[in-house]
């Protein structure tokens, strides 16, 4: 290795001064966004027309609190109806019996095909169509007769309007989830002698959950805001509670802010819940669960400490 010694003897090459790639575009975009953010914050506090004083004053007023509770109740009940009925419809839709699957198809066709606003108004004015509802033999004797407005009070009417509409959407979401489970799972279960409904309940649906959960979370967040449509039927939920106040003090903007802030708070809470539920159902498919925000934060600190000690 003569040549090798020769090289070692000659002057060593200069150390390369490595210059990181410049990203001027990044700095420009950060500067522009920071400026826009500063302008937004400035106008929020410098324009007196926002009237933050009124926002604060009415933020936790009794009627707004009642409206908020009503909004949460509506969201929860409508989603329960939506998920349960939607699952039933999805299973029906995939049934080999053409009458059963046809009925499920017709349900989705109708309830997904008409506006939810129309459905809410329809259910709240149901007594204009059927003043009384009864239990009895079809086309024959009626045993018990109910006054429709007593049987379906306004709250129930609104819940039905929202829930039955949601069921149509959930049916499609659950159906997509069921179809995402490999057919081999069904075949293996049948080979073990399981009945169709058992296969659905114990094999398919748990695996479908992974696909079903993210859009369901989406639907729940969407439902929280869709409940504001109930105001047209004179049902007092969060939006109506705030607009009732603004129509008597003639200041719409601060009260819209009150409603928006509450909606944002609860959609944020729902997003967090959705994240953890998704993580729970990811167990079956990914080797390692995605880290929680807390774990990410901890990992960052550990990394820093390692760097500084090195």
């Amino acid at each position: 290795m003569v040549s090798g010694t020769e090289v070692a003897g000659s002057a060593a090459p200069e150390r390369i001064t490595a210059v990181p790639v410049r990203h001027p575009g990044r700095w420009v975009s950060v500067a522009v966004l920071a400026l826009l953010a500063a302008m937004l914050v400035h106008t929020l506090f410098s324009n007196p027309a926002w009237r933050w004083g009124l926002v604060k004053k009415y933020f936790t007023t009794g009627t707004v609190m009642h409206g908020l509770v009503a909004t949460l109740e509506l969201t929860a009940l409508a989603m329960v109806i939506g998920v349960v009925l939607g699952t039933v419809l999805a299973v029906m839709r995939l049934s080999p019996n053409p009458v059963v699957s046809g009925s499920a198809w017709s349900y989705v066709w109708f309830f997904r095909g008409t506006p939810v606003l129309v459905q809410i108004v329809f259910w709240s004015f149901i007594a204009a169509l059927y003043p009384n509802l009864s239990l009895g033999i079809p086309f024959g004797h009626e045993f018990v007769i109910f006054d429709s407005n007593k049987l379906i009070p306004l709250f129930v009417g609104v819940v039905l309007g929202l829930g039955l509409n949601e069921a149509a959407y959930m049916a499609e979401i659950v159906r997509a989830g069921i179809l995402s489970v490999e057919h081999g799972q069904t075949e293996a279960a049948s080979a073990l002698g399981m009945r169709r409904l058992d296969i659905m309940r114990r094999i398919i649906l748990p695996q479908a959950m992974r696909v079903v959960i993210p859009p369901t979370g989406n639907e729940t967040i969407s439902m929280l805001k869709t409940t504001s449509l109930a105001s047209v039927a004179s049902f007092v939920e969060l939006y109506k509670a705030t607009s009732d106040i603004s129509s008597s003090i003639f200041r719409p903007i601060p009260l819209l802010m009150v409603a928006s802030i509450w909606y944002l708070i609860f959609t944020s809470v729902l997003s967090v819940i959705q994240y953890y539920i998704e993580r729970h159902y990811a167990r079956g498919s990914s080797r390692e669960l995605p880290p929680t925000p807390m774990q990410k934060l901890r990992a960052q600190f550990v990394q820093r400490r390692d760097e500084s000690s090195a």
């Binding site: 709240s124 007594a127 204009a128 009384n132 009864s134 086309f139 306004l154 047209v232 129509s247 003639f250």
Partner: protein
């Protein structure tokens, strides 16, 4: 296995029959304990009365009035915010998208004296005053009761007077005779109206006790207030039995009784007679003076009475319009 399947089928069949039966009843009358049976009251309405046609008056501009119109509004089209669900004052005739009514004819006539055109824009009642503040509209004409609370936000030119009446389903199943009979009942009104305030609020800032306050004083439950976006929604809610009665301005209640062919009934007394006002933004300069002068000239020429008579509301006519004439 076989037995279980049969049981499931049987349950399904029973459930299906219950549901079907539930859909079967359509025509049974509400059997309330009000004891209507034997009375001559029939719940089917008669034929609906014909709708009056808008008047088309042609009035020439009056120079003394035109001179009071602010420079920026001269010769322009004034945009008027109005909730077209309040027949006969402002409404859309069936199948038409143009707003007609007593308020429209009157505003058009006032505009003619001022040398301007007016254009009515349909909007929910509770957003008219806020729309005025945001300069979406030049005027708000929508059967506004002129009260002190609203005078804080806008100026009013009074042009009519009307009270509040109670509307109940025909035959008055709840035997309502006075407003106090509404305590504890489901009562509707349009959002943003003085009627909804009296049902909703313990104190509406007028000095006179609200119905809610009077119910509490009488040791009764407060009425359950149902506020709807439009008066037409309130009518539907009463027809569907969602509310037991509603409160609205007397001319509207009278008109609705006729328009539905007697499906509803006006019950009890007329209360809270107060002036109607044309709402003018506080920063609109001399616009309010021009409107007031225009209205006065219509009253002296007799055109005002013609408009009112055309819509059958001449009993609410006034002779001395003023600026900001709130009595409560």
């Amino acid at each position: 296995m076989r037995g279980r399947a049969c049981a499931v089928l049987a349950i399904a069949a029973v459930l299906a029959s219950v549901v079907l039966a539930a859909c079967g009843t359509t025509t049974k009358k509400k059997s309330t304990s009000s004891g209507n049976s034997g009375s001559t009251c029939s719940t089917t309405g008669g034929p609906a009365a014909a709708e009056p046609k808008p008047l088309s008056l042609s009035i020439s501009p009056v120079s003394s009035i035109v001179s009071q119109v602010p420079a920026k509004d001269k010769g322009k089209t004034l945009v008027v915010g109005s909730d077209a669900s309040y027949a006969p004052n402002e409404f859309k005739p069936v199948g038409k998208e143009t707003i007609v009514g007593m308020d429209v004819d009157l505003a058009t006539a006032i505009g003619q004296t001022m040398g301007v055109k007016v254009k009515f824009v349909d909007t929910p009642f509770d957003s008219i005053l806020t729309g005025l503040a945001a300069h979406k509209y030049d005027l708000g004409i929508s059967s506004f009761t002129d009260n002190k609370e609203r005078e804080k936000a806008v100026d009013f030119v009074t042009y009519f007077k009307a009270g509040v009446s109670i509307m109940a389903p025909k035959c008055n199943p709840d035997k309502i005779k006075t407003q106090l009979d509404l305590c504890g009942k489901k009562v509707g009104a349009e959002n943003g109206t003085v009627e909804l305030d009296t049902l909703n609020k313990a104190d509406d800032g007028s000095g006179t006790p609200t119905l809610k306050a009077r119910c509490t004083t009488a040791g009764k439950k407060a009425p359950e207030a149902h506020g709807y976006p439009n008066q037409t929604d309130v009518n539907q809610a009463l027809a569907a039995g969602r509310i037991d009665a509603y409160l609205a301005d007397t001319p509207v209640v009278d008109y609705q009784v006729k328009a539905t062919g007697g499906e509803f009934a006006k019950v009890g007394e007329t209360t809270d007679v107060a002036p109607y006002g044309i709402a003018v933004p506080k920063d609109a300069g001399t616009l309010k003076d021009a409107v007031l002068a225009g209205l006065k000239s219509l009253i002296s020429s007799g055109d005002y009475t013609k408009v009112l008579a055309n819509w059958g509301v001449q009993s609410g006519g006034i002779t001395d319009p003023v600026l900001n004439g709130a009595t409560s």
